[in-house]
Symmetry: none
Subunit: 116 residues, 2 copies
DNA sequence: ACACCGTTTTCACGGCTTTTTCACACGTCA
DNA sequence: TGACGTGTGAAAAAGCCGTGAAAACGGTGT
């Protein structure tokens, strides 16, 4: 049975289960799909287009904010379970990135939108 | 996966990553595009027109200074990461050239606008 | 059929970053 | 020196992103 691991995150898509820091996350279907898509691409910058494609399928327009909204929801729920740990980083103009490393402030390879 | 190498520069456009001297560069979208365009044409003098075409697309007029401005931004960020190394050289009246060689003061083939 | 309720989608505003444009100083060449 | 190319800071414009909230959707129980 497939298990995706990305740092403190663990996802078992087939069982609709996700854990952060060992604790279970109460996610909706979309949230789980998005988190899964991100986790499968951990530590890489992923465009909204690719995420949208992976979760919603079909075409994506710039006006479509669904990815953003769900990233927001995920952040909330992740924060709730393991406060202070930022998993999902924004890369202005590029997309998002799920970090498998706790990542203090600046990553050797990547920078978030907030650290400059 | 494509990797463009030009001396101490390494760019992976598909991952939105660029390194100078092994260190990651914090670039914006335009900056990365311009650096990529330059790197693809490393060691050649490239006109503003060609650069503008490659990055901005569409038509270019002499009054358009966007290439200049972004060359400036790139120089700053490159200087920051590997001081003393000049990557982008100005060729007065012609355009710019990204040097793959550290290039002390005078190059066998090219001279910068500053070393004569 | 209707009301209820959780989820998903869409919308709009505000804050912030990036991009573009402008103006002026400086450099280069004839 | 005069004409024009280039560097650059800063203002202006454009665009990106976080977010709350309304609207739309779908399932359940009565």
């Amino acid at each position: 049975m497939e298990t995706i691991t990305a740092g403190k995150l663990e996802i078992r898509p087939a069982e609709y289960l996700a854990f952060a820091d060992g604790q279970p996350l109460k996610l909706t279907v979309r949230e789980l799909q998005l988190l899964t898509a991100l986790a499968r691409r951990a530590d890489r910058i992923v465009t909204r287009e690719e995420l949208h494609e992976a979760v919603w399928g079909g075409s994506y327009t710039k006006a479509d904010r669904s990815v953003d909204v769900y990233v927001g929801k995920l952040r909330q729920k992740l924060e709730q379970v393991s406060p202070g740990c930022s998993f999902i980083h924004t890369h202005f103009g590029f997309g998002y990135r799920l970090a498998s490393t706790p990542e203090a402030s600046s990553h050797p390879f990547y920078r978030s939108a907030t650290d400059r």
